[in-house]
């Protein structure tokens, strides 16, 4: 960008001059930025250079730039892959159902938390609902395996005492999405209330007092004060969430995937991990990654554009 302006004669001098002065004055700022710039370069920008192997037939001995160009072959291979449709729809549906179930709960919780009058109980509740967020994905998956184990799990022993037959939760494809989404909600719903609670605490208490004096009930206050105040942020969060409907949460799906539930648990991120790192198909999986990345990028930019039209807030 800067070079475009720098080529026009008169501006060149002043811009360079200004930059020179600014650098002399603020060089220490650049030094403070340097470590972050270098780390981001190594772990984010260097890999972008490596993306070119998506268009090559990568051979370790020939290196990244030495491997042969194959054009779009790797992408075509993916589109024609036996699992292509399954991968896309599994990834999409997992996110879509996750959004449908998981999105409204934190909003509701924030509104209800805001209505608790006993302040010690409110504080206690607020502390407790954040705790599950700090549990690791491995432990979350471990809890599922332990609690749902067909022979010693607490859930199945309850089912058995009630006269039912034990269910192989972690093996049946029909249970994967439910368990994945339910455990996500258990872990993160409380945490996700933060942004809505912040919006609610921003409401002028005078409005509530006026409503109370006018004899408004709590439900009326929620309907006419809380909800209108939350709508802008809710709309924005919803739009932004829609931008990531094809993003894979690889680490959790990888933990919950078993040979039995592949029908629903096989999502793009896990496929890339398996094919790329355990079967060493580097070019093919890089192409898949790039394809999904581009879709996500376009979706996020679109969605951000929409969000910007809705309100003054946007991500960039």
């Amino acid at each position: 960008m800067n070079s475009k302006y720098a080529t026009t004669g008169r501006k060149k001098g002043t811009l360079l001059q200004r930059m020179g002065e600014s650098i002399k004055r603020d060089w220490q700022l650049y030094v403070l930025l340097l470590p972050a710039i270098v780390l981001i370069f190594i772990f984010c920008y260097l890999p972008m250079y490596g993306i070119q192997i998506a268009f090559r037939d990568y051979k370790a001995v020939r290196g990244i730039t030495g491997s042969e160009w194959v054009g779009l072959k790797n992408f075509v291979d993916f589109f024609n892959a036996y699992y292509f449709e399954r991968l896309i729809s599994n990834t999409f549906l997992l996110n879509l159902y996750g959004l449908l179930w998981g999105f409204p709960l934190p909003i509701m919780m924030a509104i209800l938390l805001n209505q608790i009058e006993w302040s010690r109980f409110k504080k206690f509740t607020q502390t407790v609902i954040y705790v599950p967020h700090f549990i690791s994905t491995v432990v979350m998956a471990g809890i599922l395996y332990l609690f749902l184990s067909p022979d010693s799990g607490v859930v199945n022993s309850l089912i058995k005492t009630l006269g039912g037959k034990s269910v192989h939760f972690m093996i049946e494809p029909g249970w994967f999405r439910t368990l994945y989404i339910a455990s996500d909600m258990w872990q993160h719903s409380g945490w996700n209330t933060i942004i809505y609670i912040a919006a609610l605490t921003g409401i002028d208490p005078g409005i509530y007092e006026a409503a109370t004096i006018d004899g408004a009930t709590k439900l009326q206050k929620i309907r006419h004060i809380d909800i209108p105040h939350l709508i802008p942020i809710v709309v924005m969060m919803l739009i932004l969430n829609c931008g990531s409907l094809l993003v894979s949460n690889t680490d959790k799906a990888l933990l919950m995937q078993t040979p039995g539930n592949m029908l629903t648990s096989d999502i793009i991120g896990v496929y890339v991990y398996e094919m790329g790192l355990t079967k060493a198909q580097f070019s093919y999986t890089t192409a898949i990654g790039l394809f999904i990345n581009v879709i996500n990028f376009v979706m996020i930019v679109t969605v951000n554009w929409i969000a910007r039209r809705f309100g003054e807030t946007s991500l960039f």
Partner: protein
């Protein structure tokens, strides 16, 4: 009823609402706390009682056999040590680098827009797992402790939250006054900005620290030398695999040669898994509870301006 007082008597509708709201929250808190409580009581109960499903609300036949097994598991203990090291070193690096960059971004300087773009762009477009894997290989970072510390050490999201905090909470007048007294960016940053940023530093410590402590995937991808594995990656083998209900799991095999024999090992393993969860989760939760005071304030600030 006199409607002029601010404290108005509650209507029946409001009372019903309060009762229902109370019921909702008691149920919700039970749903959150019970699984955690169950893990704790199962970890200190007798294995037979746990397997038979007799442990429900209170420990049964108190026993520390599971914790004994955990503390005899050499690989687990070693990975615990590794995780402590990775977490402390990684978090320290992350917080320092983030605060330095956050301060710089809160000031005006030439090229700020470009630098901002350089950072934010990576939130929306990445090279992906495989190119990153290959580049790190070429850099010789595979299977190194260095990688475990420096990878993912700057989160752009955290950087933006910290920048907002610094620019909103530290008045410009302070900077102008400091410059009058001959301060440079370095001296101002260290003697004024850092001491005034306690809240955001606490928030960053929790964010970065917990993310590191809980990460298993990085090591799964990059670490082959088992003596360098962090806790979560070992934990995955012990609790988060399908085989964990059978006798072929990692915990069992560590005790297969135990003189007391196989059945004892299986019994131990059943409870030891719960102990693993307690021992691995406690640091993150304790850190959260200690930092909570700063935390909720700081996070709210970040989320509003994010």
């Amino acid at each position: 009823m006199k409607g002029t007082a601010v404290k108005v008597k509650k209507t029946i509708g409001d009372k019903t609402f309060d009762v229902l709201n109370g019921i909702f929250w008691v149920t919700a808190l039970f749903a959150i706390i019970y699984p955690l409580w169950f893990i704790i009581i199962a970890s200190v109960s007798d294995p037979d009682a746990v397997i038979a499903g007799n442990v429900l609300f209170w420990p049964k036949d108190f026993s520390m056999i599971g914790y004994e097994a955990v503390f005899e598991h050499k690989e687990l203990l070693n990975s615990y040590k590794n995780s402590i090291f990775y977490t402390i070193a990684g978090t320290a690096l992350s917080v320092i680098v983030t605060m330095m960059a956050a301060y710089a971004l809160s000031r005006k300087f030439a090229g700020k827009k470009a630098v901002n773009f350089y950072f934010v762009f990576t939130m929306f477009f990445t090279g992906g797992l495989i190119p990153q894997f290959l580049m790190n290989q070429r850099l010789g970072l595979h299977d190194t402790v260095i990688l475990m510390i420096i990878i993912n050490s700057v989160s752009i999201w955290n950087l933006m939250v910290a920048r907002t905090y610094v620019s909103m909470n530290i008045p410009d007048e302070l900077y102008e006054a400091a410059v009058m007294d001959g301060a440079t960016h370095f001296t101002y940053f260290f003697s004024t900005v850092l001491p005034l940023s306690g809240t955001i530093i606490a928030v960053l410590c929790v964010y970065y620290g917990v993310a590191r402590w809980n990460d298993y995937f990085t090591a799964l991808v990059y670490i082959r030398d088992r003596s360098k594995l962090p806790l979560q990656t070992i934990l995955r083998e012990i609790i988060a695999t399908l085989s964990s209900s059978t006798s072929t799991d990692a915990f069992f095999s560590a005790y297969a040669n135990d003189t007391k024999g196989m059945t004892d090992a299986i019994r131990k393993a059943a409870v030891a898994k719960y102990c693993c969860i307690v021992v691995s989760t406690a640091p993150a939760v304790i850190l959260y509870i200690f930092m909570q005071k700063y935390f909720i304030k700081g996070v709210m600030l970040g989320s509003l301006k994010g």
